[in-house]
């Protein structure tokens, strides 16, 4: 966890409100130029973590360093970072250009340099020609790009983003996702990105930090979270459909594994009499290229099998399924991953 050349380093940080839990024991090392996603359900503390990084909140415990400088208690403006807010936080009475250069003006950057940086950031975000519009005269996607332009105009090495896509419609979200990723690579900046949408986290991030109830559950690459979930929470959170969890007693022969995890793509329908589990079909979900068949079994939760094309199987029908041992994931009584056979697919 402790990389010596980490750009952002968070060490055992905690933040509590009136004794209530905010976040606890947060430790993170973020390499320079990486894209880190803070992922988790609402109320898990991911936004709090981001605000602690930004300096909008100050931690009760622990230490934060950015670029080798201890900024634990520093003011937000002393941390050399920019931020994109969920609501974009654009100044409604200022034009696009004035919004973007607001920070430069505050920092007393000269007019010529300001103009040049403005032009460049509007060019990158595709907003040239909108300089004189007010935020109220722009569409949601354009406003989002103004917020991005404001974040990149000052060339800060670290950019924090708090659910920047949650106010966009699904189609726009997919395209802006690519734009943000491209922007991050082109500019070589470090991005810390808060989201509750695992698709965003998995598709954009080099490193995903999955949180729950104020604690980090797992930190790793998207592949690690998907193929080697550290516990049953991660297993059930990551992936669509999420990993099915089967009671260890229903599949004997795997020692002390309390819970056994299995992904839909590793399950296949077996001929009668040859399957390892007999389940009942509960529903069919047609997605175009494939159909997810939801299965119910008294000892399993979330069992799904994926079948190509359109399939319609009446619910209630018995179906037998099979799977290979090496595709199984094993968890102990506390829900922690047991580091042994299976699951550890070569990455």
């Amino acid at each position: 966890m402790s990389m010596p050349n980490a750009f952002v380093h968070v060490d055992k940080v905690a933040k509590r409100w009136n004794g209530q839990l905010g976040v606890e024991d947060i430790s993170l090392s973020i390499p320079r130029g990486s894209f880190v996603a803070l992922l988790g359900p609402s109320g898990c503390g991911k936004s709090t973590t981001l605000r602690l990084l930004s300096g909008l909140e100050l931690p009760d415990e622990g230490q934060i360093t950015i670029d080798g400088k201890d900024v634990t208690l520093a003011a937000p403006s002393d941390r050399n970072l920019s931020m994109v807010f969920q609501s974009y936080a654009l100044f409604p009475h200022l034009s696009v250009a004035e919004n973007v250069v607001f920070g430069l003006k505050v920092r007393k950057v000269g007019a010529a340099e300001r103009q040049e940086k403005l032009k460049r950031s509007l060019e990158i975000t595709g907003l040239l020609g909108y300089e004189d519009r007010k935020p109220g005269e722009l569409s949601g996607g354009q406003r989002q790009r103004v917020a991005l332009a404001r974040a990149i105009v000052a060339n800060q090495p670290l950019c924090l983003m708090d659910e920047p896509l949650s106010n966009l419609d699904a189609k726009l979200r997919a395209s802006v996702r690519k734009d943000i990723k491209k922007l991050q690579i082109d500019l070589g900046i470090t991005v810390v990105y808060v989201t509750h949408d695992q698709t965003e986290a998995m598709s954009m991030a080099d490193m995903v930090v999955l949180m729950k109830d104020g604690h980090i559950q797992q930190t790793g690459t998207p592949e690690e979270l998907y193929y080697e979930p550290a516990n049953t929470f991660v297993a059930e959170f990551v992936g669509a459909p999420p990993m099915a969890l089967i009671d260890g007693k229903a599949l004997p022969g795997f020692g002390d594994a309390e819970t056994i995890g299995l992904r839909a793509e590793n399950v296949h329908v077996a001929d009668a009499g040859t399957g390892r589990l007999t389940c009942q079909v509960s529903e069919c979900e047609f997605l175009g290229s494939e159909t997810f068949i939801g299965l119910s079994h008294p000892a399993a939760n979330g069992l799904t099998v994926s079948m190509p094309g359109l399939k319609h199987i009446p619910s209630g029908q018995d179906i037998e399924i099979a799977f290979a041992d090496e595709d199984l994931h094993f968890f102990d009584t506390a829900g922690k991953r047991l580091a042994r056979q299976g699951g550890a697919r070569a990455i």
């Binding site: 003011a75 403006s77 931020m83 807010f85 100044f91 009475h93």
Partner: protein
Amino acid sequence: MADHVNLERRRQAIYGWLLLAPAGILLTTFAFYPSLSTFWSSLFSRGTRRRPSEFVGGENYADLFADPTFWKVVTNNLLYAGVTIPVSIAIALSMALWANSKIPARGFVRTAYFTPTVLPMIAAANLWLFFYTPGLGVLDQIGSLFGLPSVNWLGQPETALWAVIIVTIWKEAGFFMIFYLAALQTIPEDLKEAADIEGASRWTYTRRIVLPLLMPTTLFIMVNALINSVKLIDHLFILTKGGPNDASKLILYYIWEMAFAFFDAPHAAAMTIMVLVVLGVVAAIKFSYLDKRTHYQ
């Protein structure tokens, strides 16, 4: 088919007029008709038993322009408006900014500021009468502790208007603060955070973000304060009765005096019309010019 469409159209028209009717009737009875009738009576001379009232055109207006008291009253009112409006707005704004920040006993502070607004103007005037009374009043009592001579604040021409102005500011600032407080609460918290990230100081944030966003409220308050500076004269009856020597007489008080003390309704009507015209011009400026330069959310 065409008949049906026509019927439907007529029905819609009747419906529209019915919706307009209550406001139309009330405004006509209590605003339009009285204004026009006032204007009409301002064109006639004052009728006496011997000389019945007759049409004199603009003569009443000419009389007023030649009346030194009228000019004194206009000057007084301009000074009164010119001081009470900006000062009470400035005080209201600073109180609101303070009462909106995270301070201890915030609820108490807000209530304390708002108390003068709850008092009727007459009660407030009586309170201040007690402050201003020479010898017995609180101001003189405090002054005498420091060996200052007794001052008759309300009784001398140099200070009477200023004493009245202070009462008005004290009364209005709390009222305007409530509007500012409400407006401040509509400014999203994350604008402050975005400014913090950029390193904007509290002052820069207030000047570049908060004040422009409060502009609609400021305009609203300015119009209200202007109307009040013409309308609010209750305290004159208690404090000075316009004296001494017309030093604290305001235009509405003079109109009242003209109509009900001197029984000169035509001149009072002429003055009323002039006040209406001035207020109308100011409202027109507000709605045409200033509105365009203000950002509404």
